[in-house]
Symmetry: C2
Subunit: 332 residues, 2 copies
């Protein structure tokens, strides 16, 4: 095992093959946002788990305890949303250093509970331990969806359009603002809030999974430059994405201009937006986008097309012009 490759491919993905022979045919294991475990004639359970570590995923003095609790559950619920599933319950493991204040733990609990209530996700169990130095939080979420209806990364078809459920790059802009101690005003605060308190697209995911013509879906955690590759690889396809159509908020555009950031690069490579990335049959796309707007009061943004597989997985364009590649976010 090459530890330098872990960032690129993930330890879990590297060892997945060695466990494959143990996975029964009825279960879908490693390789999507969630594992899928059949429950009964009508339902599948979906399961996902995410680990957040102080100094890597958050800085204790740069996020409010409330938002830390909210985000810890949100990033997991986002995986449930990506399957088109509804939450059943959550499990929280927390490693607490001695210098953690009781105010932090209270605020964390409040934030976790606020999202828990919002999407009916009861806390069903967990584990508390001491940590020597860093605060660490692992959440496992279980969801439920109609049997065989979970939206997989592997279901994209040639001729599908590629869509996203909201603006991209705000979270990465917020992270930039935090790390560079950018002056706080209503705009930078908005971006930081997007980074520290992402909203899982549970209702959007459930709605989209019910529409005929929605094929592949996943959540945007590393940026579409990286995440779309997962769909394309699993579906054995390629794609064209038009940067002019990738939705960027006016706030991000204006702040990016002010501080000389590349807003397009933040939008496609920044990550942690936790919007949904999906592919839709070309003929259904307009109708679904219209009804999506009617349902949620916000646009479903069509940003590209799925193509037959070619050597280069994503061709980036800007209108008529071909662009060079973007890379996704890598924690290592």
């Amino acid at each position: 095992m090459d530890i330098k490759q872990i960032g690129e491919f993930g330890f879990i993905e590297q060892i997945a093959d060695r466990f494959k022979s143990l996975v029964p045919k009825s279960i879908y294991g490693i390789g999507d946002d969630c594992a899928i475990i059949p429950a009964n004639e009508n339902d599948d359970f979906v399961v996902s788990t995410d680990l957040l570590i102080e100094g890597v995923h958050f800085l204790r003095d740069k996020i409010t305890p409330f938002n830390l609790g909210y985000k810890s559950l949100a990033v997991n619920l986002s995986d449930i949303a990506a399957m088109g599933a509804e939450p059943v319950g959550a499990f929280l493991s927390i490693g607490i250093p001695k210098d953690c204040s009781s105010e932090l733990l209270d605020g964390f609990t409040e934030g976790f509970m606020a999202l828990s209530k919002k999407y009916d996700t009861p806390l069903l169990g967990g584990d508390t331990t001491k940590s020597l130095r860093d605060l660490m939080i692992n959440v496992t979420v279980i969801g439920k969806c109609p049997k065989g209806k979970a939206l997989l990364r592997s279901s994209a078809k040639g001729g599908d359009v590629i869509a996203v459920t909201g603006n991209l790059g705000d979270s990465a802009g917020g992270l930039n603002a935090i790390l560079n101690n950018i002056e706080l005003n209503s705009h930078t605060k908005h971006l930081i809030e997007k980074h520290n308190k992402p909203e899982p697209q549970i209702n959007e995911g459930l709605w989209l999974a019910k529409q005929n013509g929605v094929h592949a879906m996943m959540d945007i955690s590393d940026g579409i430059a990286s995440d779309l590759n997962h769909i394309l690889k699993a579906s054995e396809k390629s794609a064209i994405v038009d940067l002019q159509k990738v939705p960027v908020s006016e706030i991000l555009s204006s702040i990016a201009k002010k501080y000389d950031w590349n807003a397009a690069e933040l939008a496609v490579s920044g990550g942690e937006d936790y919007e949904l990335l999906l592919t839709i049959s070309g003929e259904c796309a307009t109708s679904i986008a219209q009804r999506f707007y009617a349902e949620f009061g916000k646009p479903l943004h069509i940003i590209g097309e799925v193509k037959a597989p070619v050597e280069k997985p994503i061709q980036w364009i800007s209108g008529e012009e071909k662009l060079p590649d973007f890379k996704g976010f890598n924690h290592y």
Copy 2:
């Protein structure tokens, strides 16, 4: 929230009440070894999660990578065993510091996989992240048992006898040997192996759950002085435990004598034995113990009796003599 009380009561247990109103009646949430989620007409799913942190639960240079992988899954499978359930699959989150060798990750994977194969527990998902300093491992395990048949902590009845599935204290003796750099020989190596590579009592748990007369069950992670209290509190009972009947290995006895350790205290307060602690209807106990011996080739040790609730939850005796209290292990 009082952070000093977290060690005693657990953060999860402290916040459980605040989430209670969100838990549907069909689901059993916080309060046992696993949560119980109904799956279908015949089955319940049970779910548990455990976090292991370097410097708190293990020292990287005092456990082989193989045993660390084995133990990470074992402590979780032990919770599945405690419900009388069979494993369905596991989820592994791992935070890896940069100074982690690829040999460690390979060995870890081998050890995890060895136990995974032994008890048909496929790895179904997980998360890999960087960690700044400490290696951290969170495992969530899902199991399955016949509907309504999971063995709860709250089912102990007056007149039950209290039993354990194996020797207690070896693991705590092994930890003593590790922390005090005791000279390695076949005896101390045996104790250290018991600490570093515990065996989940999956087959024993499944078998016991099928016997009429087995009432309450849990696994022994903190030592019976602490763990038995959970059964007594949940069942609103008290107990008498006879130290002379608590099984202690000859190896622990001899090493304890040599180094002036209190073997009885290690046995009841040491923790991490991952044997099962259960209560059995008095009239069935002898027959079940005999059949347990025939099935597993080892005794089921009867160590005490469940009584009507009194102020002092556990009365420790040694034959006819009354003894003072013992306390369980506390990571804080």
